[in-house]
Symmetry: C2
Subunit: 343 residues, 2 copies
Amino acid sequence: MVNVMPTARDVAKRAGVSQSTVSRVLNNYVHVRPDVRDRVLHAMKELQYQPNEVARSLVTQRSRSIGLVLGETSNPFFAETAKSIVEVCQGFGYCVILSTTDSRPDLLPDSLRLLRSQQVEGLIIGAVEKDDSVVAELVASGFPCVFYNRVLNTNSGSYVILNNVRGGHMMTEHLLGLGHRRIAVLTGPQKFSTFAHRLEGYAAALREQGIAFDSQLVLQYSVYTADRTKAIKRLLGLKNPPDAIFAMTDSMALEVMDTVLQLGLRVPEDIAVVGFDDIALASHHRICLTTIAQHRQLMGRLAAEALLEQINARAEGRTVQPTRIVLEPQLVIRHTCGSPIQR
Amino acid sequence: MVNVMPTARDVAKRAGVSQSTVSRVLNNYVHVRPDVRDRVLHAMKELQYQPNEVARSLVTQRSRSIGLVLGETSNPFFAETAKSIVEVCQGFGYCVILSTTDSRPDLLPDSLRLLRSQQVEGLIIGAVEKDDSVVAELVASGFPCVFYNRVLNTNSGSYVILNNVRGGHMMTEHLLGLGHRRIAVLTGPQKFSTFAHRLEGYAAALREQGIAFDSQLVLQYSVYTADRTKAIKRLLGLKNPPDAIFAMTDSMALEVMDTVLQLGLRVPEDIAVVGFDDIALASHHRICLTTIAQHRQLMGRLAAEALLEQINARAEGRTVQPTRIVLEPQLVIRHTCGSPIQR
DNA sequence: CTGAAAGCGCTTACAG
DNA sequence: CTGAAAGCGCTTACAG
């Protein structure tokens, strides 16, 4: 630092006490004579003293920081959860180190290494794959860790997620109730529990109505993005074409809606399009997307609180049960499903 | 830590060398005998040694971390810039501590304090107010700092911004060229340079065409959100009502478009609505928002690179000129402006 | 109630 | 080329 920061020694010297005493007032210990405390406080103010958290971390073995590893930052979902996570953590004096594997799950181990070398006390992970062994080991080792949005398929560790099976089920049931029979699905990688679960719910709802699951109706997002028009045309050109498309993400729903409209079709008259997430734009007058709502902010907050709780438990030597919260989804009916129910 | 991490001492013991030597191989010093280096490397691997960055930071006085302070995380703009900032920083072994003042600029000093106590080596700030004295002092003190998106009105410090004056000017000129004469503006707090500059560009374009600036046509976002319908009705009920609304943000444009449509008006037939930012949704078939594009990813990357450069310069005792990059905006004409030019 | 001392896990002159 | 020692800025038993 150019203008070198004052240290506790400087404060001690100025206040005419020992460094230990400075430390004691800093940490609000009880046994400090009021006048001494005042002298120290005054010296701190004069020098604009700021304790060096790095030094503190080293000796206390607590860094007061956690790591947040996100999946696709482009998805507004993550921005919103990140916001509440940061707020909660800052409120408890913790800072959050942001890391992103952005569509490169292979980078996760590196991310974790960087984070752990920075001595983070815990991790909030929004980007696990169902069968990530590195993360599974981390959890098994007892390192404080909470997943949100996505989980491991072993169901181990702490997490805050949505009941995605039910979400997929609800939406499919709704579509079926409206009379749709051929429901196509636009989904992301099945290695993410979110997509796997939503698809599971979809399949279950179909089964209950005695409708066969048709893999021709399942479109992977990656093949869709490779050539949007081609993918949609292929779908619509099936012998038995879909009358609805259930996109497993609002963001995907918006895209597919765009493609469909560009092909000259009407939504929902020619084909219904529904999503999942209820992002802010879903409710726009020009969009009116039928979708599944989840509490993003809440999810972030709960994840942060759960992690902080685990960290504290660990520091105090308490053992604590993993937090496992499953939030319930909510069906939001708007216009794109072709429902007679208008808002 | 429960399963206590191995230290450099453990590695040294196992490899039969001194801690100094371990440190030397860790830092890739030249003068280490190859066979000794191998022994050390091997011991590290066996113990799964990870250097403790906190200890390292303390002695080297370099934390290898920077702080990123964001404004509204809800705005996708920040998510996208954050992403590229994190990528660049991680690429150089730096981690980024995320902080948010979310619509509470009064929290900025606290944020900065927390960040600095964590010994961040520099700051990327996307949330400055034009006349923030705390930040101004920080910059004046020579602490590595780069602004993006918004700047101080003294123009001091390093920054990467868009030419917002020109952006505001371009859009207004476009609207005027289309024949609009009464252009209302929906704008955010003038304490942010972005809004002030965009408005300035708007006013300049008007002036050039000999059109008087009418403060009745300027709607503050805060009064708009207090009661959307009322605010828009007031605007449309003016003796001389606007034929276009220039929202200073796409996000605002989408909202105002929503309100206008809900009032039963058509966009652009009854009133044009244009935005600023070119977020992903602006191009949606159902939206087709005319707007101003800026390079978000680039902005993030340039800001990160500028900061890292400053940090390095400082560490090497070099003095370095502030980085001042002004990116040029681009007009994206779609449908909401009532332009005869269709995409 | 307070101070001197040891130590957190590293790096880096200083000797050799 | 390598080791012993000091020290980064704190906290925390240990005495008193």
